[in-house]
Amino acid sequence: MILKLVSRRLLVSVLILLVVSIMVFVATLLLPGDPAQAVLGQQATPERLEALREQMNLNDPVVMRYLSWLGGLFTGNFGYSAATAGPVSALIGERITASLVLMGIAAVISIPVGIIVGTYSALRRGRFADHVATTTSLVLAAMPEFVIGIVMITLFSTTVFKILPSVTLAPPGEPVWNYPLQLVLPALTLVLVVTPYIVRMMRATMIEVLDSGFVEMARLKGVPERTVILRHAVPHALGPVAQVVAIQLAWMAGGVVVIEFLFRYPGIGQALVDAVSNRDVQVVQAISMLIAAAYIVVNLLADIVGIATNPKLRTESAR
């Protein structure tokens, strides 16, 4: 039963990814002008233009171009950048790692913090600490990510305290983690954006679980409160929270764009914004596809977690 559901969900994801790739590809066809001209510029000779057109497969029918573009995505050939006149893969290769590092740090911090704060807030329901946690997460959840980022910069980098760098200034080619101080503010901003949702979900489910019969039963049996919470309550609350966590991770794939731009962080988000400003279509296509793929995969994982932690489905498969 679980296997069937998961494989069906997998198939749907592949289909969606395919449709998204068609949408992303069609976007280029709508753009006026010759992509080869865009890469080589106005002074290009007709021979060079023709050669590049041949190389970019521009003379083929649209369907063939789509298929070869799609094939290129799997073999690491993402097309040519009009701005740098080089292959896209060279442009975004290192940036993918940099973005993953940033998102990884944010995830590693925000998930446990969110769960702990949410649990604590639920245990102190109605008290002062709970009010502080609820209000803070409500305020943080409302604000756009760049607003939180600017506030962080004002507080820690420019106006109030001057202790952290506000921009990432690593020489090109050098990995970002060689400069841990420069990672602090972008990662912190990402954490502040993502954590409130985890806190809110954890608090809501914990409150529900704490009021349930089995927790009351455990208490009546005389199980120590510590064990009641850690062994009985928290594991039950983690199922729904896992889904929210996955949704947040998926969101990060897109949300990291603004934060990278704000801190001039050398990741794919920054590359995407630059490419959009230059109308560098093949770069935009490649990065959009990457982000969409990451988004779809994480959402798929979220659903699988949801299916796997659903006790109804588990008992059905045991039968």
């Binding site: 709508l30 959840a141 756009p144 607003v147 600017i150 969101w251 109308r279 279509v281 982000i291």
Partner: protein, 298 residues
């Protein structure tokens, strides 16, 4: 600012029962302290954004695009910006367009989403499936990426921003509408209307729509909050409102290089956007509590 989960938190709201009509919903909402705080915060920023443009150049002596001095000088109340324009003038003039774009995008997304959602819930299963699966495809692209793709192709124009943000909202609204509609169309009064052969569109408009206002209002507030952040973020990236337009998002982008020298050009718009989004979110949150309590009584 994530798009997939509602900032609602039903726990902890304890409001006694009352009549379940739309005015009752608003009364219940405003009885909560956080709703009143939200209304005040939203009201302040709305006032600045709506009245601000009317005060120029009478109040500050400059229009939002005229040059008042050299760049980043402490002239006037809040100094000058990166091109030597008066920051207060630009601030007063910079909120209206942001609000208008966000409101238009929200309205577009709500109308399209509600129509699609209600149609899906109240049509044959295969059509319902088709609509909801195409919905899933649109949901599979992060909103920002979708917007950036559209801007690359069509350019950063006002109608592109409004349309693209509206379109990215629509499938999310449609999902909420569909599930709300699905629970209403099995009610007896809808069955009764069907027996009298009332046209389907009339049933949806007269019988179903009034009964799903609660979740729709919550969705409206949520979408408005996101739209504001979205329009501001795109302008901040330099891909929304274009210079020399005065706009809060764009102001942050233009002036952030001089945050240490002349912080007001960044702080004023940032604070305004923050207050506005927190205000609308507080309102939405209390609306959701009020609405959840109403529906719980059913």
């Amino acid at each position: 600012m994530s798009t997939n989960n509602t900032p609602t938190d039903m726990a902890g709201s304890a409001i006694d029962d009352e009549v379940s009509s739309a005015p009752g919903l608003f009364r219940r909402m405003m009885r909560q302290k956080q709703a009143r705080i939200g209304a005040v915060l939203t009201g302040i920023v709305l006032l600045v954004a709506l009245v601000g443009p009317l005060l120029l150049p009478w109040a500050t002596g400059f229009t939002s695009t005229s040059f008042s001095g050299r760049p980043f000088q402490p002239d006037g109340i809040f100094g000058t910006d990166n091109l030597g324009r008066d920051i207060l003038s630009r601030f007063l003039d910079g909120g209206l367009r942001l609000l208008a774009y966000a409101a238009l995008a929200t309205a577009l997304g709500m109308v399209v989403g509600v129509v699609i959602g209600m149609a899906a819930a109240y049509s044959r299963p295969w059509l319902d499936n088709l609509i909801m699966r195409s919905n899933d495809v649109l949901l599979a692209l992060p909103q920002l990426v979708f917007a950036l793709l559209a801007i690359t192709v069509l350019g950063p124009k006002g109608w592109v921003l409004v349309t693209v943000i509206g379109i990215t909202h629509a499938p999310r609204v449609a999902r909420v509408t569909r599930s709300a509609t699905a629970s209403v169309i099995t009610e007896d009064f809808v069955r009764a209307s069907e027996m009298y052969a009332v046209p389907k569109w009339k049933i949806l408009l007269k019988d179903v729509l009034p009964n799903i206002t609660g979740p729709l209002m919550v969705e409206l507030g949520l979408r408005m909050t996101y739209s504001i952040g979205f329009v501001a973020a795109l302008s901040f990236l330099g891909l929304g409102m274009q210079p020399p337009t005065a706009d809060w998002g764009l102001m942050i982008n233009e002036n952030r290089i001089a945050l240490t020298v002349q912080p007001w050009g960044v702080i004023l718009p940032v604070v305004a956007i923050a207050i506005l989004t927190v205000g609308t979110n507080l309102l939405t949150d209390s609306l959701a509590r009020a609405s959840a309590n109403l529906n719980a009584g059913e």
